[in-house]
């Protein structure tokens, strides 16, 4: 069974600081990788996803993530955070066999951006 580890439970940054959130997964095969964001009072939204190809993927709102297969990692980055990025961020993995497979989520990282 796959598992996901998010190393930071709570990250506090000032506006314009750079962000990197760690995500490591364990799974003995090919996976699809996702980052979801949950803004206060809102539903989970997809930030970006990796299925194959270029390991550097760009998502919405200036976020990007790099898949490093040798490290089983899929870290999320943003060069300059804004106050509106305050939210909870979840990394998730799924075997690539279509939609008929469950997402496995990490425990999440709460990001607080101070104005």
């Amino acid at each position: 069974a796959q598992s996901v580890s998010q190393h930071n439970h709570h990250v506090i940054l000032s506006e314009a600081a750079s962000l990197e959130l760690g995500c490591n997964y364990s799974y003995g095969g090919t996976v699809n990788l996702f980052w979801y964001v949950q803004y206060p009072g809102q539903h989970l939204q997809l930030l970006l996803k990796y299925f194959s190809g270029d390991p550097l993927v760009k998502g919405i709102k200036g976020f990007e993530a790099e898949f490093i297969k040798s490290k089983f990692s899929f870290n999320l980055r943003k060069p300059s955070v804004q106050w509106s990025d305050t939210a909870e961020y979840f990394c998730a993995v799924k075997p690539p066999s279509g939609s008929a497979r469950q997402l496995t989520f990490g425990s999440g990282t709460q990001l607080t951006v101070l104005p």
Binding site: L46, K49, S99, A100, Q102
Partner: protein, 116 residues
Amino acid sequence: DAGVTQSPTHLIKTRGQQVTLRCSPKSGHDTVSWYQQALGQGPQFIFQYYEEEERQRGNFPDRFSGHQFPNYSSELNVNALLLGDSALYLCASSSTRLAENYNEQFFGPGTRLTVL
């Protein structure tokens, strides 16, 4: 185009009671998955429905059951509620037919269940 909708938004029950939560998938989607998100945790997979059958199940007791209707909407039922069942219950839909976003699940706003 409506996204994934869930009802009710909030629910308060007492221990031992039964609850039914409802989900309508995004238009064009035929697969519904249910997740439980406890406070401070990531969502945990409960089960998935496709073609009106449970296709995959996570590590949840059989007090948790579900159903999918011909219009692809779904219900989650929880019997004999425990305090530990208090959580946000999320529904996610996906499509086995659409090449685009084939592997992507879209989430609803969730139902907040409180068991007293």
